[in-house]
Every structure is written in C-alpha cells, then in structure tokens.
Amino acid sequence: MIQFLNVSKFYDSDTVLKDVSLTVAKGELAYITGPSGSGKTTLLKLIYCAERPDKGRIVVAGWDLQKLKQGTIPYLRRNVGIVFQDFRLLFNKTVFENVALALRVRDAHPHEIKEKVTGVLKEIRLMHKADVFPSHLSGGEQQRVVIARAMVAKPTVLLADEPTGNLDAETSGTITDLFRAINARGTTVLIATHNDSLFHGTGRRVIHLKDTCVEKETVG
C-alpha cells in the first residue's frame, strides 16, 4: 500500500532522510517512531505529496508519486486521510462542517454528507457538539474531530502525525481504539509518534527512524 524505495530528502544541505526503503502492507496498522527531528513528519509528508523526494521512488495506493502531475495530486490525497499534528481545523466552521469538508471536496451529495458525518460524529462520541465551533472544544475533542475528518471518506490509507501529542493517557487510549477500529474496516493505518507507550504491547510493527535512516523494525 505504501512503498519507499531508496528515498532521500534534503532541506537545502540538511539530509532528513537518506536511502529509506520501507513497505506498509495493505490492511496493516504500523507505527513510525524515532526521536524528535528524526524525519517522521517529513516521511508522512512525502506520502501525501506535501514534499517531493529528492531521490528514490514512492508508491502509494498504486500511484507512482514520481509520475504524479500537479493537477492529479488532489485525487491521490482523496485516498489518504490525514490526522495533522497541528490539526488544521477551520475555526470559522462548526465541527460538522469541518468533518463535512472532506466530503465536499469530493463533490459528495448532501444526503451522503449528512449521513456519513453524523455516523462518524457518533462514533467519536461528539454528535452533541456537531454545531459547536472547534475553539470551544478540548484538545482531546479537537483531536477526535480531526480523526473524524480523516476517516469520514473511508480513505484507503490513514496517516496520523503524533496523534496523542499532548493528551493524557486516558484520552490517548480512546484515540488508539479509534485507529484500531478504522484499521479493522480495512484502512491501512500509519501512525508517527515519539511516544513508546503508544505501541508497547500492541503486537504491531514499529519502524524506528534514527539519523536519517531506518534503524530497525520491531514488534510493539
């Protein structure tokens, strides 16, 4: 589902990733970990084309990103749900509208939007906050709205960047459960985190990044 072949990425003269090769299989739920600044976010950005590799080849959901034209990028991104580290919620839109946006950009029918958004809002237990603006939500609630927006269109791949960044342990647990549920429905999930406790004891594959390279792969 996600394939990196000898991918390198430089920012000016700084090497962020060097000759990285990795594969995430269809239907898998895997973690990327490593110290802060080890290139986790950059790796995710390469997957959704917010950054382009300087070397190597990336294939996502059957799309060879090297051959992707500017105008095709939106169609790739519709296969990829993203839980951004900085949330990227629109504060002038309600929770409902924020989640609905993922469907609106896909030209979905209003009935479909209503049905699907209501569905995910129930799943993240925020239906009662549907008409609230994000600024009135707690950090954990905002995080769930971001996840709802990433999953509502049933993407083939879901990427999450530090999804439990500054949440307490209990809220983290809820979030982890959400990802499991999404994965159980067939979506490939890749979670970047520097927080070991998130994958400890999960039995999932963990890719460790260190000094611009894949250091090792372990089982959490």
Partner: protein, 294 residues
C-alpha cells in the same frame, strides 16, 4: 453542480464577512463605470445631434439653363432611385428667386436690374446617414456633375469634414476611456480577491491537503469577484439612469439651450457597464487566484 452550490454559499458568506472591502470595491467599480457612462451619454447625444443636423444639408444640384421639364423629371427619377439619396426636393427658378427676395428683404431692389430671372432651377438632395462620409459625398458630387443637364454641384465639404472628425474624436474618446476603465476594474477586483485569498490562505492550504481540486478552491473567489463586478455595474447603471433622468427633466430649466438637444438614452447604453463590470472583474479575479501549486 454540488460544488457550484457549495461555492456560491461560500462566496456569499465571504461577501458578508468581508463586506467592507467588498463594498469598497463595488463603489470603486461603479464610480469608474459611471464616469464611462456619463461619457457615453454625452457622446451619444452629440452623435444624435450631429445626425439630425447633417440631415439638413446635402447636395445642391444646379441645372442648366433652359432644360426641358421632361429632362428635369428624368433627373428627379434618377435621384430617387439612388440608394445613397434619401430625399429629393425640386426648386424651380421662380421659387429660387422668391427665396432670394425674401432673404434680401428691403435690399431686393438690386434684383430690379435683371431683365429675366438669372437663377437656375435646382435639386436639393439629402443623403442617408451612412453616406455622409466626406469621400462618399465627394464622389457622389463628382458623378452627378457629369450628368446631362447638370450645371454645377455644391456641398458643404468643410462642414462635413469637421462634423465627421468631431464624431470620430468622441468615439475614439469613448473607446480609449472605456479601455482604461476596464483595466482599472480588472485591477480593483484583482486586488480585492488577492486580499481575500491571502486572508484565507490557511483554509486554502487545508483544502488542498484534503484533496480539493484547483477548481474547487478557485470557484468561490471567482464567484465573489463576479458578484462584486456585477454589483458595481448595476450600481453605476442605476446612478447613470438617475442622473440622466434628472438632467433630462430638470436640465432645460437651468440651461434652456439643451432642450430639444437631449435624447432619451436607449437601454443598450446601460449594457456596456454591466457587461464590463462582469467580464473585467471576472478577469481580475482569475488573475488574482492565479496558479495553485500543491
């Protein structure tokens, strides 16, 4: 289609949220178009005055002395058939003399010295509007002069040339001013949409990451620009109509000489403003949203 509906809603909401900047550009556009409209109105009135005026003059064809009435009739029929000629008026020797007496008034005695009527009979020909171009008139006059029984042809060439030049200058002025104002409108909407685009750049960035196409991102801005342009056009048309009606009704009270000179503006005089507002603001918005890179 659903994208269109969503974009209209987005555009309307932005129009409201950014109402001051939008109002400002609507006003700027309408002032520009109003200036153009006033100019068009003046040019239009001058043109119609020129047309009416030039109706009064045409070619005067003096006939040879002692031409038979059959020959005169033949010429008359010939002129009537000519597609450039609108009206034909015959003036006999006697009528010409009476006219001359009337003009001379009490100085009429100078005519006593003539034994017979020295004036020729003549035709006054008025030309169709489209034939009132100096070269056409000159050619026509030359042709007629060669006709059997024609002594001479006279026409006010100087007059015709200057009237035509004046009307040409007015038309050029309208085109030139129009061009300048169209560019200004495009620029006004360009700046407005650019500002709105810039203010919403975070939102646009998020939309891009969610898989929105360029079309989806641009459409609300284009619609907003279009709406601003059309509003500007409508406001200026309304203002022009108001001002013009006022001048039409009240103007003659203060400036009696313009009565009978002003004509009602046809509806088509308002169309350029609306059209220009719409087209140029759309163009401006299009340039403003520019290239979108992912």
């Amino acid at each position: 289609m659903r994208t269109l509906i969503y974009s209209i809603r987005t555009a309307l909401s932005s129009l409201w949220h950014e109402r001051w900047i939008n109002l400002l550009s609507v006003l700027s556009i309408s002032i520009g178009l109003l200036i153009l409209g006033v100019f068009i109105a003046v040019a239009f009135n001058m043109d119609s005055a020129l047309k009416r005026w030039s109706k009064n003059f045409g070619l005067v064809v003096y006939l040879q002395e002692g031409l038979s009435s059959e020959a005169e009739e033949d010429l008359r029929v010939f002129f009537l058939k000519d597609p450039d000629i609108e009206g034909v008026k015959y003036i006999s020797k006697e009528e010409a003399l009476q006219e001359l007496r009337r003009i001379l008034g009490k100085n009429g005695s100078v005519l006593e010295g003539f034994e017979s009527n020295p004036l020729p009979s003549s035709f006054e020909l008025s030309l169709k509007d489209k034939s009132l171009e100096p070269p056409v008139v000159r050619r026509k006059a030359a042709q007629i002069k060669l006709l059997e029984g024609v002594e001479d042809v006279e026409y006010g060439e100087q007059w015709l040339s200057s009237l035509n030049a004046l009307s040409g200058i007015m038309k050029f002025g309208v085109v030139f001013l129009g061009g300048a104002i169209f560019v200004a409108i495009a620029f006004i909407t360009y700046s407005t949409v650019k500002i709105l685009f810039y203010r919403r750049r975070d939102e646009i960035e998020t939309l891009k990451l969610l898989g929105a196409t360029r079309f989806f991102i641009r459409l609300p801005f284009l619609l907003e620009g279009l709406f601003v342009g059309i509003s500007g056009g409508a406001v200026s048309s309304l203002a022009l109509w108001g001002i013009y009606s006022l001048v039409l009704h009240k103007g003659p009270e203060y400036l009696p000489s313009i009565s009978g000179f002003l004509v009602q503006l046809p509806l088509t005089a308002y169309v350029p403003a609306l059209l220009a507002g719409a087209v140029m603001s759309f163009t401006g918005s299009l340039i403003a949203v520019g290239k979108i890179r992912y």
